[in-house]
Amino acid sequence: MTPRLQREGGKKAALRRALWVALAIAAVAATLAMRGPRHEARDWAAVYSRRRYYDPVDLKLSPHGRRLYVACEGRNEVLAINTASRRVIAAIPVGRRPKALALSPGGRRLFVANAWSGAISQIDTRALQVTRTLPAGWGVEGMAADRTGHYLYAANPLGNDISVIDLASGRETTRLAAGHFPEFAARLRGSWIGISNLLAQPAPPDTPPSSQLTLINAATRQVRWQVAIPGAVQMRHIAQTPPRFGGYLLIPFLQPHNLIPLIELRRDWYASNGLAIVQLRGRRAPRVREVLLDELDRAFANGYGAAVAPHTPWALITASGANQVAILNLERLHRLLQSPDADELARRLDAAPQFVARRLPTGRDPTAVAASPNGHFAYVANRADDTISVIDLAGLRNAGLIRLGAQRPLTARRRGQQLFFSALHSQDHEIACASCHPYEGFEDGLVWSFETPRLGRDVVENKTLLAIRGTSPFKWNGLNPNLATQDGPRTAMYIFRSQGFSPVQVRDLVAFINARPLPPNPHLAPGGLNPEQARGRALFFRTRTNTGQIIPLHDRCYYCHAPLTHFTSRVLMNVGTATRFDDTGAFKVPSLEGIYMRPPYLHNGEAQTLEEIWTRFNPRDRHGITSDMNKVQLNELIAYLDTL
């Protein structure tokens, strides 16, 4: 904004305005110093004592390429690194869990999405200080500022929407509908903003998943296309190739093969990893193609970051599970996509060598990748190593490592984190824990057909790993007494189909999983329950029906979903939800904590919303007595459940 003002007025006027702006910034800073930070400082202290690792998760290079900004979600900081000296020159404290970065077009303002604060920090890149805090939606992550720098678009994974923030007023003007769990955003050529989704669109459990790319026309600030990416989940960073290489959007994704029984782990029987390739075509609907980055006997597990190196034919894709960065030859890719059988590429395991120029090892859990504006270097953030890999794009080789200064020796939890994201422990390196538990231990929202005594039966919905401490036994059938049993030989034999983790590794992994917290619940206002939620709470704990009859103890909500033990009684209960595909009727009572963020519901993912649990799948009142409730009460009950 300031540069534009300077252009408009004379020098004096500009000075005057600059003075005013400086005063305003000072005032804001003072206000922040007096009020905001004090509250947040307490949080930081708590977080610092718990999490000492940096966990670099997003990178942005300044327009001239001399400075690299790193969002470190583990320490609630943004680091500024001098790319010449490869040294950290500033650590700027921001809000909780900074997940994503966006630069204003000129590079003067850096926006930091603080997922757990539900707010965006705006950093003045000259002063390297937070100048203001912008409102945002639930669990805000990926952001992109439009070309003019007037509006900022922010993806809210927990709200399934996109905030449009007017940067002049600092107010959120609109929330646009996005698909399920939008997590990453990018400014594209023209006036497009792209938003990719982590999870598949809600759908009946026996249908293959389909994810969504939301394309916003920044000129109208409205969604123009909601592009279905068939078969895909976990779409992440978006990179756009130059027009001469087709101008495609490249989005790493995972194609889960959850509907076929998981009796193998070879040649992508569980999942494929690759790229969605989206071609914008003006007024016509964008065209979607898919290519795999997996190879015949070696998977490119959990693609994450994507970047196109200017002035080169290279695009870089990181695989957080394979600890690799693949360097794509865009010219060859472009040519391959022109071939008549390009549609088959979505499943071809032998295509990647045709366009992957080089695969380079990275640190553990590589996430974001950024290429310098001159195309000389690329940088990969290795989240579980607290390092930045530097890649020489001229020689396509590793050219150094920037260490952010991790604590040594590693804690058990840290070692567990490294194992959690690594696919190197499974046969053909196909999957990591994180493949099915994205969002650092969440769930993918899919049902999976595991190898069971009867194949194709007992198909169950994936379960979250967030906040599961104290809720054992695990699995819908309750057969796993603890995490160590699950993560040991069982994972080795039936999931990884390999040697699996050693007992020491299992201990580390369990330490990591047990420490997975839930994000702060956006339904819960600071003042406690609102009246509707409070009425819902009364319904949850009610002992009589609307007609005054006493509800038997075992038919009350709180009997099975016991509040003192994370809203689960930790036993198996038959609530009449078994179908003809189940060999058992009793399932472990799931915890209700964070229930709002993890549809679908019930053991087989039949209920796509909380409402459906009672409206469709509780016809005989076996899942609690609910049929006497009216719709208003049901809404209130759900309003309360949303706060757990």
Binding site: D206, P208, P209, G231, Q255, P256, H257, N258, L259, I260, P261, I263, E264, R266, R267, D268, W269, S272, L292, D294, E295, L296, D297, R298, E344, R347, R348, L349, D350, A352, P353, Q427, D428, S449, F450, E451, T452, P453, R454, L455, G456, R457, V459, K475, L479, N480, P489, R490, A492, M493, Y494, R497, S498, Q499, G500, F581
Partner: protein, 412 residues
């Protein structure tokens, strides 16, 4: 130093993961059988592990304390040579391959799977089969799969090795007799990592048939070069050329050089078979998919049934037929440890496609295939197979009424 002075012949030395022991095949007398022996790498007395009535060769260490080896000839010869697995002291030998095809152990891959060579296709005429190919197998004998699939024409791979980067090197032995001694010699070929197509290794001489890794870049090649007898070379994999000849023994027939050092242990593979069971299950996702069909797929609705053949006592018997669901899926329970083969039939019972080879299921094995003779480079289609959705369970064929169709409870 001759480690085995007391033997008439010795071959296939395998250094244990610790680097302190050797496993090798040897015959004491000229007309005896090859057996598997074990000895300290430093030398000393060898311990006989096998008492084969035929030849036992090509042994390998398994990371779980077992060994695996190839038995050829003898009574088992009807189906050609087979792989056996036994404890490290040679006790409890049992077969892990069952079909025709002359299986021969090549190596244990780092993933824990076995790399074996056998006739391609794996059929009855194995002995006369002109070509061979590499397959992989879990060390419990389950999940037989073709390893990559494009080989130099008429070449039988032998002496395959896996290098740490995933490169597989083998000797392409000409499978047809050709004129001249040099033409009979195998040529080194390789599968670059992730390549479906094998190529001859540039710069290598014919007759070299053993490859060992020295370091990341240099390989140890050895064999019997036609002119100079036995020789050992160092090969620069980056320059793709032989750089040094380190050893030459003109009088000896061949050499298999192995560095005596600790080997990277392959992964332990945890078997999930249930050896007490008499059957295994196979689910086919889409029998319509076939590279033999025009356009890669049979016309929708054409397939009605799958017929299962078995090889019992050297004879083909029909076990029965089961419906193919409209989406091409079928789900069967079939006798374990028996050579099996599928035939796809149309609604009138006419043959649409016959499997050209034999496979088997191990007891309690759950095998899955994407299609019948499908393109192995395609990832599966994510769809709930109707055979699993509509059928209550696997359709049992060739199992007596007494055979238990219920699998034991299995955690997951």
């Amino acid at each position: 130093m001759d480690l085995t002075p007391e033997f008439y012949a010795a071959a296939d030395p395998q250094v244990s993961p610790s680097g302190k022991e050797l496993l090798f095949a040897a015959m004491r007398r000229r007309r005896g059988h090859w057996q598997i022996w074990r000895m300290a790498a430093a030398g000393g007395a060898a311990r006989q592990l096998t008492r084969c009535a035929a030849d036992c060769q090509r042994a390998a260490w398994l990371p779980d304390g077992h060994i695996v080896y190839t038995l050829s000839g003898g009574r088992a010869a009807r189906l050609g040579s087979q792989l056996y697995r036994a404890r490290a002291d040679g006790a409890h030998p049992h077969p892990i391959t069952f079909g025709p095809g002359n299986f021969r152990l090549e190596a244990v891959l780092r993933s824990g799977r076995l790399l074996v060579s056998a006739a391609a296709p794996l059929d009855r005429r194995a002995a006369a089969a002109p070509t061979r190919a590499l397959y992989t197998l879990r060390p419990d004998g389950s999940t037989l799969r073709l390893f990559r699939w494009q080989y130099p024409a008429h070449a039988a791979p032998t002496s395959a090795r896996e290098l740490p980067d995933g490169t597989v090197i083998f000797v392409a032995q000409p499978s047809r007799p050709a004129a001249g001694p040099a033409a009979k010699m195998g040529k080194l070929a390789w599968f670059p990592p992730q390549a479906a197509r094998a190529a001859l290794l540039p710069g290598a001489k014919p007759g070299l048939d053993s490859v060992r890794l020295l370091d990341g870049r240099r390989w140890l090649l050895s064999g019997s070069a036609a002119t100079s007898g036995c020789a050992i070379y160092i090969y620069d994999s980056a320059a793709k050329a032989l750089v040094t000849r380190v050893y030459q023994a003109p009088r000896m027939a061949c050499a298999q050089a192995t560095p005596l050092e600790a080997q990277p242990a392959p992964w332990i593979y945890h078997s999930i078979l249930h050896l007490q069971m008499a059957s295994g299950r196979v689910v086919c996702l889409n029998a319509y998919r076939s590279t033999l069909a025009p356009g890669g797929s049979w016309r929708r609705g054409r397939l009605a049934q799958v017929r299962v053949l078995a090889l019992r006592g050297g004879r083909r018997v029909t076990l029965g037929a089961a419906p193919v669901q409209p989406d091409g899926s079928f789900y069967l329970r079939l006798p374990a440890d028996l050579p099996l083969s599928f035939e796809l039939l149309d609604a009138r019972g006419a043959l649409v496609q016959a499997q050209r080879s034999w496979f088997w299921l191990r007891p309690g094995e759950d095998a899955g295939c994407q299609g019948c003779h499908e393109n192995p480079a395609l990832a599966p289609v994510n769809r709930w197979p109707l055979a699993l959705k509509r059928q209550a369970g696997a359709i049992a064929l060739g199992l007596g009424r007494t055979a238990s169709n219920r699998a034991p409870m299995r955690p997951r």
